[in-house]
């Protein structure tokens, strides 16, 4: 566990000193510019997830079954996740060491990991299983919404959490 922490902090230091970290920090408009992409992808990703989960909960979208809807929206969903991860990494690199000690950021990363794993495995399986019962479908949708809500709330909290991590950064 200790090694993982050391390695993570090392990685954060590297991000901080990387080309991205420097360039974005030194620019007046790059940070908000990247943030807009992060927000737009959030909008569409959120919309797709809400729609798929509503479909699991029994709301009908035309004649499409939940599986068809999921297949049709998947490229957009994956595109959004990719944009969010890329833009998120760029934003992170500007203050990686500071974020390392921010509990809201840590919480967001844990939720993100869980949400991604869940979306790629169980959520996907149930979306594509026409024989899944109503209770299973509802449970699957609920867990998905909660996990992604955790990511969103963690993200919102980052800016409001002030930490003593800058001290760590200096050491």
């Amino acid at each position: 566990m200790h090694e993982l922490a050391t390695w993570t902090l090392e990685f954060c230091r590297w991000c901080n000193e990387s080309f991205f970290g420097h360039t974005i920090r030194d620019s007046a408009w790059l940070f908000p510019f990247i943030e807009v992409f992060h927000l737009l992808a959030l909008g569409l990703l959120g919309g797709i997830l809400v729609m798929l989960n509503l479909s699991l909960l029994g709301f009908r979208f035309g004649h499409a079954t939940t599986g068809e809807l999921a297949r049709e929206l998947r490229p957009w969903m994956l595109g959004c996740i990719l944009i969010m991860l890329l833009s998120g990494f760029l934003l992170f690199s500007t203050e990686a060491v500071k974020l390392y000690g921010n509990w809201a950021f840590q919480l967001k990363m844990i939720f993100l990991l869980l949400a991604l794993l869940y979306t790629a495995t169980l959520h996907r399986r149930v979306l594509e299983a026409p024989q899944a019962g109503a209770a299973l479908r509802a449970l699957t949708a609920g867990v998905s919404l909660l996990l992604w809500l955790g990511v969103g709330l963690g993200g919102r909290a980052i800016g409001y959490v002030t930490t003593a991590a800058s001290a760590v950064a200096g050491s």
Binding site: G43, G46, I48, R60, F61, H63, E68, L73, W76
Partner: protein, 166 residues
């Protein structure tokens, strides 16, 4: 000017004061504002992509509209209430930024886009609903809508960026 006196009045209402002085009001309302964006902006983008024939092509446009509209209107109402609440905290300060004015102009333009669509192509929806390809006008509406709503989001971010942190 009437606008100025309205802003001063709003600023001095107990509601405006509450937003400004409470520790929790602003972060909570802003969080609701941003999270509702996932439903509102997400569904708007999905509708636009449908108008552009880029997704959900097997579902008729009218069906996509009918299914998404109640959620869109509900989410927009939440965006409006939370947005106005945040604005009430310091109307003069917000209005003083170029991004706030731009955002309002883009919002009006986006609304105009919806009205124009409903008065023209939207009226004749039954004629082109079942066709495999949407008409050029619908695609123009979709692109305009995407550009305008993306501008609204970008200006919103701009406001937070030029204002001093609370």
């Amino acid at each position: 000017m009437i606008l100025d006196s309205t802003f001063v009045w709003l600023h001095d209402t107990s509601f405006g004061t509450l937003i400004r002085e409470s520790t929790w009001a602003e972060p909570i309302i802003e969080t609701i504002h941003v999270l509702t964006l996932t439903v509102f902006l997400g569904f708007v983008i999905l509708l636009d992509l449908r108008l552009l024939d880029l997704t959900l092509r097997r579902t008729p446009v009218s069906t996509v509209f009918r299914q998404l509209n109640p959620w869109l209107f509900g989410a927009f109402a939440i965006m409006l209430v939370t947005g106005l609440s945040l604005f009430a905290g310091d109307p003069v300060l917000f209005y003083g930024t170029i991004f706030f004015k731009l955002k309002m102009i883009m919002l009006l333009a986006a609304a105009l886009n919806v009205v124009v669509f409903n008065l023209t192509l939207g009226r004749r929806l039954v004629q082109w609903d079942g066709r495999p390809v949407t008409p050029a006008g619908a695609k123009v509406t979709g692109i305009l809508s995407l550009v305008l709503w993306i501008s609204v989001v970008a200006c919103g971010r701009g406001i937070a960026y030029v204002l001093p942190p609370p």
